[in-house]
Amino acid sequence: MRKLANRFYMGLVFLFLYIPIFVLIANSFNASKSRTVWTGFTFDWYRKLFHNETILKSLLNTLIIALIASVLATLLGTLAAIGIYNMKKFTRNLVINITYLPIINPEIVTGVSLMLLFVALKIELGYVTLILAHVTFCVPYVILNVLPKLRQMDNNLYEAALDLGCTPPMAFRKVVIPEIMPGIMTGFLMSITYSIDDFVISYFTHGATSQTLPITIFSMTRRKVSPEVNALSALLFVAILVIMIIMNVSEMRKLPSDQRRRAAKAEKKGGRA
């Protein structure tokens, strides 16, 4: 009985969370422009969406910016994580906390301050400022994903590589990077999703020709919510869902091998060559 009540409650929570999205997806197939009456199923809005120059342009902007910013953030973040990992305990904790700051900081504060900075430095708002801004808020996510991988890594691996004849850069490339690769990849994927997702910070740092998708959608809805936006949002939701599933599946795939590793360790006691 109790179990049933639990299930019911869970169901309610999920319903509450996902009903808006399902309404939106349903509406994107609604032939009527009205959001309240269902007049028939149609793909029209999707067709129109793909003929809308503004939307397509900003979609392209979003993707380009997400890609460039994520690559840069991943590079920077990985190097930063390695630097932080090798710091003395006190400085390390200090730097890690400073790294958290942009994540905790209200986005609007980050956005406004970045805009003020760019204006003060006389950098014209546009692609460059958008990319810089996105790199800024993506780097912490990369660091936070790479650091644990470094901590898990056996310290002697790097030394073993040196011992076998690697110069420090080679040891790094051949041993350290492969070891922390899963963390780097997760950081990269998170950066992409956060970059695509970002509205507030982009809003303050974009220029006239460099609108990203969320900004375009926002400006479209200010007049009247066009059903094209429903279609677009539905597509975005599905895209993010797919990325999430890929990330989780790859995590799950790794799990069994970890478990096997543990099993091998346990077996060590009785095991023989």
């Binding site: 002697n156 590589a161 011992d163 690697c166 051949k174 041993v175 091998s257």
Partner: protein
């Protein structure tokens, strides 16, 4: 044994965060020698090994390889390879690629690499494991891969930091024999770190006993066991009765309330000394006027022998014997002059602290 010096340490000192970890260590290591660093935890064994491997630079002193100073030569340019305590195998590579790692760096031809890897896997009895993931191997197998990987580069000296520490007793014994065989077959120098005295005594040509960042004694296993230079070595290399004594003149020592004839000389008159007598060197006899007499306090069966504790005055003697006297009976404690080992008192109070730690509850004397 070939007496070519291959590695020399001269006055090596090292401090970490102000804590002196090595205090002026001097050591010669010869070609084809099996050298073991033996000492309690934290005495600086690993640090010494890492200085030889090039992972730690000493604060002062010289490291010489074949007479050339190498203090600042990085690890990848030294003719030594290391077997790390926790194996440090590369998890993203399979067994074959782990072993081939050093060869690939040398840009060897694929056929030569394959031949060498096969030879090394043969050496460590891991043929047929080439394609396995190293994370799925048992501890013993991982250890073998680590050895094969280190030997692939044909080092002149192999450094091993407690390589068998994580293995169970049975496997340990097997690997000890195998390692010794490998060393003799390849005719290279092994520098081996352990805190297991039995392992050190069975495997080594030379044992280096360390404590508190200093070398206590260097010698063959027989030397170290039979002629320990001080109470610390005596206690660390096996169980001992250690009693305070006074050297009256050459061949004459006073301890346990009596005068004894011994075989040692060269001490100052009336010099205070430590007297060491091994439990297995003592024989139990009927009480008489010519021996020390004492009361049997406890008898514990230890498998090969009984461990008998006998109290005589304030001294508590540990005796190993195959026959068990009755608890509460009075017995005589007998030993020959050759069984009495005399050593100078240690100057260092730190050494005594370490000794107390080793002793635990089984102190040689009770004041």
């Amino acid at each position: 044994m070939d007496k070519n010096k291959i590695i020399e340490l001269k006055g090596i000192s090292k401090a970490f965060n102000g804590e002196q970890v090595l205090k002026s260590v001097d050591l010669d290591i010869h070609d084809k020698e099996f050298v073991t660093f033996l000492g309690p935890s934290g005495c600086g064994k690993t640090t010494t090994l890492r200085i030889i491997g090039g992972f730690v630079t000493p604060d002062s002193g010289e490291v010489l390889f074949n007479g050339k100073k190498v203090n600042h030569v990085p690890p990848y340019k030294r003719p030594v390879n290391t077997v790390f305590q926790k194996y440090a195998l590369f998890p993203h590579l399979n067994v074959y690629e782990n072993v081939a790692f050093g060869l690939r760096l040398k840009k060897m031809k694929e056929t030569e690499i394959a031949a060498k890897v096969a030879e090394m896997l043969d050496l460590v009895n891991l043929r047929g494991y080439e394609k396995r993931s190293v994370t799925l191997l048992s501890g013993g197998q991982q250890q073998r891969v680590a050895i094969a990987r280190a030997l692939c580069n044909e080092p002149k000296v192999l450094l091993l930091d407690e390589p068998l520490g994580a293995l169970d007793l049975q496997l340990r014994k097997e690997m000890q024999i195998e390692l010794k065989k490998i060393q003799q077959r390849l005719e290279i120098t092994f520098i081996y770190v352990t805190h297991d005295q039995e392992e050190a005594l069975t495997m080594s040509d030379t044992v280096v006993v360390m404590n508190g960042g200093e070398i206590q004694q260097i010698g063959t296993p027989q030397d170290i066991y039979n002629e320990p230079i001080n109470a610390f070595v005596a206690k660390f290399i096996g169980e001992s009765n250690i009693l305070p004594g006074i050297m009256h003149e050459d061949y004459k020592v006073e301890f346990a309330g009596d005068n004894f004839v011994c075989v040692d000389k060269g001490f100052r008159p009336l010099e205070p000394v430590d007297v060491v007598i091994r439990p297995e060197d003592i024989t139990i006899c009927p009480p008489s006027d010519t021996v020390i007499n004492g009361l049997v306090e406890s008898v514990i069966f230890k498998g090969v022998h009984y461990e008998i504790m006998v109290r005589a005055y304030s001294d508590l003697w540990k005796i190993h014997s195959t026959k068990a006297p009755e608890v509460g009976s009075v017995v005589g404690i007998d030993f020959t002059p050759e069984d009495i080992h005399i050593m100078r008192k240690m100057e260092n109070s730190e050494d005594y602290a370490a000794l107390d730690h080793l002793n635990g509850e089984e102190a040689g004397t009770i004041d």
